[in-house]
Amino acid sequence: MVTNDRRIPVTVLTGFLGSGKTTLLNRILTEQHGQRIAVIENEFGEVGIDHELVINADEEIFEMNNGCICCTVRGDLIRILENLMKRRERFDRILIETTGMAEPGPVAQTFFVDPEMQENMRLDGIVTIVDAKHVEQHFESDEVRTQIAFADVILLNKVDLVDQAAQDSLERRIQAMNAQAQIYRSIAADVDLRKVLDVGGFDLEHAMAIDPKFLEPEYPFEWGGVFQLDSGSSFVCAAGPDPAMGLCLVPVAGEGESELADGVETAVAYFSDRDHPLTAPGEEVGADGRRYDLDLADGGSFPLAVTSPGIYAIFTEHLPEEFDARVVRADGSTADWTSAREYRPDHEHDDEVASVGIETVGDVDWERLQAWLNSLLMTRGPDLYRSKGVIAVAGQKRRFVFQGVHMLLDTSLAEPWSDDEPRTSRLVFIGRDLDRALLQQGFEQCLV
């Protein structure tokens, strides 16, 4: 990143005990990058290497009154970082390792509320390391979800211990919680260090690079594929992670991706069918505008009742590989899809931590925007882990950008909009129990 910012970048490493935090830390410290790095660690004695400066911190969280907003900060960090700033030898980077159970909020907020911290250091990014093998057991814990929600970079570590399908499903689940984080897979925390350092996660300029992928719409299904079906074909699957799965069959005009895309709207309508009794193995599934919920307690075979042979799209609530699902012809051979794709599902495992992206063309009224953001942060601040936005404000030539942690917001005016681009506002909220519709509606009320 090209920057004139001479403040010392700070990287925060979070992750459960055993996720590979220390391995990554050691990698960062031993790799030849020519940087002088000061490490502040919480779990004493873990870094066992000969290194210039490792300071043990005794995590001390306290509430701070910052104007009208209360937040928690790390008092021990303020003292340690102040001391580091006084040293004659300057460090190129500071790494803060948090305890496995720590919520990254207070660490991040420490850099927002103390002017001296802000003048001398810049929070570069929060890197969360996830143990691909064991994280499923920890997803229920608030700490893991919060660490994922806060992250700018997520390292899906120890991927050698799980198969490809599990890696993919884990990545999708993490992405649903935090859609703006960069996710990398690693073995023994072996990752290009440029991907975890100099992330620019808290740069206001960087806030503009909101990843458009999660501004995509969500669907009631996760997968769709086009098949050439004869009469006598069946949908066969094994018992899977859920006891039932929604499915619908849609006739389409051709075998390609565009025909599949044409079938999506119909499928969404089919899936909205609320009257869908459980379909037991052996019972037929028709292309009749209904949603079928397959009873998969023991797996089974479901005849596909197509009146005439032809091309059909099958849309499934979950990924076929999660249920070992396939389409079997009358002669017992497996029918392959001709085109298929995954969709961003709206159900995504019912995690209460999620990302909400808003993208709207058109100018926003400054007063209304301020009122809305203020009230949002005051009322929902504790549940909002990260927020970012690039906004087209009426009468303002430059982009208004903001980014925040809980209730604290950093704002500025960035590059001007050019004449040949649409003034499109983009916002991202990552938090707990967020109401997408309410956020969308709240923002739209600010439109001129």
Partner: protein
Amino acid sequence: MPRVSADGLASDFGWSVSLTDHVGSIALSPDGERVAAVGTTGPIAIIAIADGEVITTIDAHASAATTIAWNPRTGFLASGGQDGKVNEWSAEGAPRWSTLVQTAWVEALTWDRQGRNLAAASGRSLAMLDADGATRWSADDDVSTITDLAWHPEGNALASIAYGGIALREATGPNPTRRVAWTGSGLCLAWSPDGRFIAAGDQDATVYIIFAKTGRKLQMWGFPRKVRELAWNRSGRWLATGGGDTPTVWDTSGKNGPEGRAPISLEGHEGTVRALAWSPTDDILASGCDDGIVHLWSPSSREDPVATVELSDAITAISWLLNGSGLLIGDADGELRFLDLRR
């Protein structure tokens, strides 16, 4: 208004000594003839005031020394370090004793007036040592790191400050006799020379003035930054506070102290004030700023500085000589300068 520039300083106005880095604290020996100074990472230097000769340099702690305090009775120097130890040295730098308080940094160290009790704070622990370094008692019940300590001028009571407020104790035992609580993280303490008030600076950019007898507290806010600079004048009437670019002086005379009275704002600095010190002989206040400027003020008579010293690096510590005839000024680059005001 007299102005002094850095160039002429060394030759015309005293002496200058280079320490390893950022001068953290400086302390005058009880006889006023030596000054001890400690840098952020470096050793402790003991320097003769008369000519700036470095008498000794002490590698006082395995990691850095953090704080120093002269025993007013014996003239020995106690030091606290990042190693959690309190050590004592002769004025020539010979080791006397070493006591481990806790594993956390020793943030504060202070002798009572009689030089019998040395209070030391390390992490959440407070220890009371005797003049030989033996632990009289210790208290581990604070909720948060103790950031500063202050004795009552008579030495019969000790105040400590941490997150959540102040605890007061007798010199004789670990149980607090009073707690003055507020929501906020206390950073520094100063007990007025007349014993009436305890001033506390807070991370939340506020100052508290506590009536020592009753525990009643007044809160002052509106500071641009956290407040780490507090100084009482010799009589205990005036309290100077930092917390930004404008030193503020509070008149605490009268039954209600500073309550309802507008403070005097000393405007003239163009950076954050990092050090405040009153002359021990006159009501002259010295303020040092991170832009390298030291102003001298006579707050009760004039709004503008009565003198200005221009140095190049951020001022980090200021101490007056006992007779008020000169100033010791430490900076962020590790220079310790003596400024002789009689010349």
